[in-house]
Symmetry: C2
Subunit: 341 residues, 2 copies
DNA sequence: GTGAAAGCGCTAACAC
DNA sequence: GTGTTAGCGCTTTCAC
């Protein structure tokens, strides 16, 4: 690396002390308009970038935020990561990735070590990791600020979510409007709290509409394609199969479509299939899938925004951190649920 | 952050100077077996982790490697990223992500600024960014070690690749073995060097087998689903359509399947369709897709391995850097190309 | 083979 | 409002 511009160079050029430059860098108060301008000019003229290592060492912070995730859904994660990175770039924070495995025995040790190793200033936690109370407790007691995405957690950390139950309700209502009365449901992974939420919304809507709630039509899935195939097979081989299937995510819905094709069942003419997540898959399979769109990218950005606020406050006042930020979802109606009348 | 163990604590515990601890940390020579053991013991006993910020500041390195990418293919990137992270974890390096846009005017400035800002010790460059000679030149002149993945680049940087032409050849041969003589081809994005490579392999194989090379059967695509749909539509509406279509990647192959379904063309009975990449999509669409599997994860790990070697050598000897590391691919034969006899 | 001293580039605490 | 002085926890240089 070439010898680079330091804070001293800027201070000399601007005719002030390095402390004043530091104040400008950190947007601290107590800098007059005039000196502020002088310093900013010098920074620009020299094309100065502060050295993060030095800043971190002196200020005991790393300018790094972490993203904790379980490699479950690639599409979900890619969008979230993009959203987080957008703000990272603006704020000059770096993003440190921490892949982990939900069921793992060593999960907590792994994450704790990682927190110490990377010295991140805060973390964004994604499901299903956010559903491990033990993990959340460990993170809280390690005193690292954290924000949860797509899950409410135990309620003592800020979270960015959509109303999953409401989304599932709306989707169910969509199917009922289309004339369906016999609706099957494939649940998500039991470890994810959103699985319950989605199921609850579905159930409540059935009850609200006075529809039969047939236990045979509800199958356990695990959010992956294969479990969608299995559940689909079971549902389609029933004596009295449903005329519509609501899978708790797109991957499982794709599994149902796969089975339907193999059995020569026409979608949507003979049976409607809908999913949840609006992954790219939902547009690329045939027929294209009716699904629920979450603003995942935005949720990532919003989560980091909250996290940075907490980090900034840290040390100052008490942090009011158990707030839940709810974002809007959108029903994407496509071919797989077109009205069959 | 709680007050943590420093190198001084370790030195005291082990009864040596901090310099000796430092030597152990950096695997420097000139440490006797005995002191080495003592120090390692102290490190373990105190559960000591060196502070990266301090290491970076003193040693003018960041312990960060960068991943430059264009957000094109999510599946590809996720695998590569995982592969890179695997080694990151082992070596204690952090991964810094740099999303960029290939066609962008500001690309070079963006990346150059990012390199200065993050102060990464090296970068892994993925396609299509690796196909921009101007960008590679800028990176080289900024003196940051770099390794290219999935593209040979201009030849003056080390690269990790598969033999794409050979893979395309093998795939074409597979179709010919299955009895096809009229084979359509959908090219990849013209900016990606692998597009040419794959096309070349296809062409060469046709010639080798003395088959007709019909220009009508070759369409330009852009590696995305939509371009696969367009190209598929054109190919299927020809008076004399091909009996097999080789799409340069899975997303485009999915587009062809989509069109075929809409036109009630049976796959593979009436027409075979094959792709390239072995994305999860290839297993989830119907029928499942014959495709080429690259060891993307491994390629990521290997790329970082090479990069770290260069970083370690840096400053020492001259770096022999224009080496090409070729990995194995694998033909994944699935339903979409099953022999129709 | 090992250690002492200096300093990497910045921020914290305090003085003015 | 602004500057001065100490470090942050390491690696470097050079002495032994």
């Amino acid at each position: 690396m070439t010898v680079s511009v330091t804070i001293d160079d800027v201070a000399i050029k601007a005719g002030v002390s390095i402390k004043t430059v530091s104040r400008v860098l950190n947007r601290e108060p107590n800098v007059s308009e005039k000196t502020l301008a002088k310093v900013q000019e010098a920074i620009k003229a020299l094309n100065y970038r502060p050295n993060n290592a030095a800043r971190g060492l002196a200020g005991r912070r790393s300018f790094l935020v972490g993203l904790l995730y379980d490699n479950a859904s690639v599409n979900y994660l890619a969008k979230l990561q993009t959203g987080v990175l957008t703000l990272c770039e603006e704020t000059g924070y770096g993003l440190a990735l921490c892949p982990a495995t939900f069921g793992d025995d060593g999960l907590i040790d792994h994450v704790t070590m990682w927190l110490r190793q990377t010295q991140v200033d805060g973390v964004v936690i994604t499901p299903p990791l956010s559903d491990s109370k033990a993990l959340l407790r460990a993170i809280m007691s390690s005193n690292v600020p954290a924000v949860i995405v797509s899950s409410k957690g135990p309620g003592d950390m800020p979270a960015v979510i959509i109303d999953e139950a409401k989304a599932a309700w709306d989707m169910t209502q969509h199917l009922i409007h289309a004339g369906h009365t016999k609706i099957g449901f494939i649940k998500g992974h039991p470890d994810h709290s959103s699985s319950e939420e989605r199921y609850r919304g579905f159930q409540d809507c059935l009850i609200h509409n006075g529809l039969e709630h047939n236990g045979e039509w509800v199958k356990q899935g695990y959010f992956d394609f294969e479990s969608g195939v299995s559940a689909g097979q079971e549902l389609l081989s029933l004596n009295k199969p449903p005329t519509a299937i609501f899978a708790s995510n797109d991957d499982m819905a794709a599994g149902v479509l796969h089975v339907a094709h193999r059995l020569n069942i026409l979608i949507p003419e003979t049976m409607a299939v809908v999913g949840f997540d609006d992954t790219s898959l939902s547009r690329q399979i045939w027929p294209s899938l009716t699904t629920v769109q979450q603003p995942i990218r935005l949720m990532g950005t919003r989560a980091l925004e909250l996290l940075l606020e907490i980090i900034a406050q840290k040390g100052d006042v008490v942090v009011p951190s158990n707030t839940v930020h709810q974002m809007d979802f959108q029903l994407m109606v496509r071919e797989s649920s077109q009205c069959s009348n």
